[in-house]
């Protein structure tokens, strides 16, 4: 018999950025919240202080802070005609392993999506006409606009202490910021960090080319800061042990550093660690949920009843738990019906590695997101009339490539990788390497979706999630274009070697580590036939189930996802305590 717990107002599955921000709103409004996370408790000062954090092998190479495939994995295939196989080694499927989720060891680029990103379909029709959407029938608007989300972006940025330079405040374009961004209501909460040599070179060259370089907004606070929840943070020290690492300085914004300390003080908040949720229970009428079940570390099944269920368990388990619980209808690529698993999308990346001569870049000075970007070829910021694609990419350089194991594999093409000459080449190139990274949009496609795997199971005997994905033609064309823009920039910067990469040049594989940004599958929208959740991320099929995360993105932007995840989470939580709890039912 399963162990029964006391009923809560809200049960939150997963305490990453999405879950902790939801919990913060809901407990502040007085609701009784229980959060369940499959990971153990982990905190910055106790677990990743400066005596532990600066260790490339353990964190960047072995990735001990990440969830390993032995504990959780997905199966994968490129198209519905193949039989999927499990991903056995950790590469592209990167997930957090502890409370705090991937927000504990993320790189920290903290973007707002552009106005265009929320209405790709309508905007494309308006500017180019229907022909431009040929082959892109699943591209659809989000059902909310940038303006709807602006107050919640602002709230996320204040809580996280994001460092940046505004490019557009209430419509006024500001020097030094991104002129293409949507209007912000005010300046960033903390100032920018300083430029590295590489960043200055990138700024100068792109500006000379007529582009508009700006400082990437980052979750590495730019000055001492106290956030609206009363939590203190300290300025980033450019230690460089950042992406895949915790932060020992209270400088990298994470659920642990920014939200959880405040949550844990609230009497109406309870956290259960190492509880692996495998099912949402449906009420007898089939229209609502009554709570969730999880397995604790001893393998006992525990039921947590609740009036409201919020899935904040990242793209994969957000979809998988709906499938395992039989809520909503599984998407079928043949009939194109069903919405659960539909419109999975990714991040299309292309760019160039560049090597200079006689530079002293001091690449060990850096941070996960410390960089400069140009958005001149992102979204719809440039004319696509004569191009064979929609979308684009942010083109950036970032100062985080100083760690010596990783860098030993980044030598100019043709140079000795081993034996005689390797040491000399590496020595000559260590100070001379830079990256130009195009992080591009991703459009949904008929044969890109999530479903349950019929053959492989996890250690609880539940089916693994199966991903079916390959690049579509639009995104391949876009990536080719971006690759060339990266070459132009590299040459302008005076690089001696420019070596391009283009992830969409061959079929996708989870062993090619292109990006860990993985969206869709439980997409939001205004039409229950083509979206799994409404614009408040509320399930169309069970009105007290909310599915929160990048799983809701119907299309992906040429930016990292997390600020948008945070903004959506806060917006949903606010709708729950302001409206839903007083009048349960559809919010739209």
């Amino acid at each position: 018999m399963a162990i029964q717990r006391k009923k809560a107002d809200v049960v939150i599955v997963g305490l990453g950025w999405a879950g902790s921000l939801m919990a913060e709103e809901l407990t502040r409004a007085g609701l009784e919240v229980v959060a369940i996370d499959r990971g153990p408790w982990l905190d910055t000062a106790t677990d990743t202080p400066p005596a532990v954090d600066p260790d490339e092998l353990r964190w960047s190479i072995r990735r001990e802070l990440l969830l390993q495939p032995g504990e959780y994995t997905l199966t994968f295939r490129n198209n519905s005609g193949q039989t999927a196989v499990p991903t056995r080694e950790l590469k592209a499927f990167q997930m957090g392993k502890s409370v705090g989720g991937a927000g504990f060891h993320w790189a920290g680029m903290a973007w707002r999506f552009s106005e265009w990103d929320f209405r790709v379909r309508s905007a494309t029709l308006e500017r180019y006409g229907a022909a431009k959407l040929k082959g892109l029938d699943q591209v659809q608007d989000w059902g909310i606009t940038y303006a709807d989300l602006e107050p919640f972006y602002d709230r996320f940025e204040r809580i996280a202490g994001i460092s940046g330079v505004a490019g557009n405040i209430n419509g006024e374009i500001r020097p030094g910021g991104n002129p293409f961004e949507g209007p912000r209501s005010r300046e960033f909460p903390t100032p920018p960090l300083k430029d590295s040599r590489l960043m200055q070179m990138y700024r100068d060259s792109t500006a000379q080319m007529g582009m508009h370089p700006f400082y990437i907004p980052v979750a590495h606070v730019g000055s001492a800061y106290v956030n609206p929840l009363g939590v203190s943070m300290a300025p980033c020290t450019y230690c460089g042990y950042c992406m895949f690492h915790g932060c020992g300085n209270y400088s990298k914004s994470s659920p642990q550093a920014c939200v959880i300390p405040a949550l844990m003080r609230r009497k109406n908040f309870t956290l259960i660690t190492q509880g692996y949720v495998t099912k949402i229970h449906k009420a007898e009428d089939g229209k609502t949920a009554t709570g969730v079940s999880y397995f604790d570390e001893q393998g006992r099944e525990v039921v947590q009843p609740a009036d409201i269920v919020a899935l904040c368990s990242f793209t994969y388990d957000n979809a998988r738990l709906m499938m395992l619980s039989d809520i909503g209808k599984q998407y079928d690529p043949v009939t194109q019906t069903g919405t659960i698993g539909r419109a999975y999308n990714y991040q299309t990346c292309a760019g160039a590695h560049v090597w200079f001569e006689d530079e002293t870049l001091n690449p060990f000075i850096g941070a996960g997101g410390l960089g400069i970007q140009v958005d001149d070829y992102n979204g719809d910021n440039f004319d696509h009339s004569n191009l064979d694609f929609i979308g684009g990419a942010g083109l950036l350089t970032v100062s985080r490539e100083g760690m010596p194991i990783g860098r030993s594999g980044l030598l100019p093409p043709g140079s000795p990788r081993w034996g005689k000459g390797f040491k000399q080449t590496y020595k000559d190139n260590y100070q001379n390497y830079g990256i130009i990274f195009g992080q591009g949009t991703s459009m949904p496609d008929r044969d890109a979706y999530l479903s349950l795997d019929p053959n492989y199971k996890d250690r609880w005997g539940t089916p693994l999630l199966r991903m079916t994905f390959d690049w579509n033609q639009n995104d391949r064309n876009m990536a080719r274009f971006i690759e060339q823009r990266a070459v132009d920039i590299g040459k302008k910067m005076g690089a001696k070697h420019v070596h391009t990469f283009n992830s969409a040049a061959k079929s996708w594989s989870p062993y090619d580590e292109n990006s860990n940004h993985t969206q869709g599958g439980m997409v939001m929208g205004e039409d229950p036939r083509t979206s799994a959740v409404n614009t408040y991320l509320q399930s169309w099929d069970a009105h007290n189930v909310f599915v929160v995360g990048a799983s809701a993105f119907p299309t992906n932007a040429g930016y990292n996802p997390t600020s948008t995840v945070g903004a959506l989470a806060i917006r949903t939580a606010r709708a729950i305590h302001e409206k839903y709890q007083h009048n349960p039912g559809s919010l739209v």
Binding site: P40, W41, L42, D43, A45, T46, D47, T48, A51, V52, P54, D55, R58, I61, R62, L65, P69, G70, T73, Q82, V85, R88, E89, L90, S98, D195, S196, R197, T237, Y238, C239, N249, I260, M264, R265, F269, L271, I272, T273, Q274, Q298, E359, T360, N362, F364, M403, I405, S408, R417, W418, G419, K423, Q424, Y426, K427, Y430, Q431, S509, Y511, D512
Partner: protein
């Protein structure tokens, strides 16, 4: 007891596989322990190594391969002089070698590696590496009638080049170059990881490229753009 030895014995005491765990618990506040969680400290490798995994012929082959990949020259120590063999021995003796992190459930489909580009297949890294070294040695015997470690440098390099360029396969297409990549990755890890793990002795790898090691605050250096900062490297453990 010297500090380094003290650290080592502490590492042995708290040698933890993976992450420290509080246990399945219900938390109503931040756990009261706020000091460093000692289970998070890494476990340093005994100097001189243990020789637990690579013994006899396997150790000789590994040493020879590693020293062709990173030879001794005017720029510094060879891989084995820098401790890379001890490094890999310790790695293979722990959770990494046991492949605790991999999903190894069956079935293994015949087309799996074509779709996925799989490196390890369904066995532990330890078994994989030992089998790979044996293959290299057998190949040397076949070509020259001698163990790999007894070949001259040019002969060794010729075999390694065959693997590197995908001209010598072992257990299916692409397996030779995958084995090579794995050994190359391993030697680089040993040469450039913190000396705590047994390799990079005297921080030879870091000194080669000018990496300052486990430093944590560059605020006073960020404005000195384009300058050689001349920073001596530091390790997580004191090294001579």
């Amino acid at each position: 007891m010297k500090r380094r030895d003290a650290l080592r014995s502490m590492g042995a005491l708290f040698a933890a596989a993976g992450l420290a765990k509080v246990g399945a618990v219900e938390l109503k506040s931040v756990p009261p322990q706020t000091g460093l969680n000692r289970e998070m400290l890494p476990s340093p490798v005994m100097s001189g190594g243990q020789g637990n995994v690579f013994k006899g012929q396997a150790r000789a082959t590994l040493t020879a391969v590693f020293d062709r990949l990173i030879p001794h020259d005017e720029l510094g120590a060879s891989a084995s002089e820098a401790g890379c063999v001890d490094y890999l021995d310790a790695q293979m003796n722990g959770p990494y070698g046991e492949s605790k992190d991999l999903y190894l459930d069956r079935p293994l489909r015949a087309d799996e590696s074509a779709l996925m580009g799989l490196t390890i297949s369904l066995r532990t890294r330890r078994d994989y590496t030992l089998a790979g070294l044996l293959f290299i040695d057998n190949h040397a015997q076949k070509l020259h009638g001698r163990a790999f470690a007894e070949l001259d440098g040019e002969q060794m390099d010729a075999i390694l080049r065959q693997l590197d360029e995908g001209r010598l396969d072992w257990e299916g297409a692409g397996s030779g170059s995958r084995l090579f990549e794995f050994l190359l990755l391993s030697v680089r890890e040993g040469y450039f990881a913190d000396p705590l793990y047994g390799g990079n002795r005297g921080m030879v790898g870091w000194k080669l490229v000018g990496f300052p090691g486990a430093r944590y605050d560059y605020r006073q250096y960020i404005d000195r753009r384009g300058q050689d900062l001349g920073l001596e490297p530091i390790s997580l453990i004191p090294v001579s």
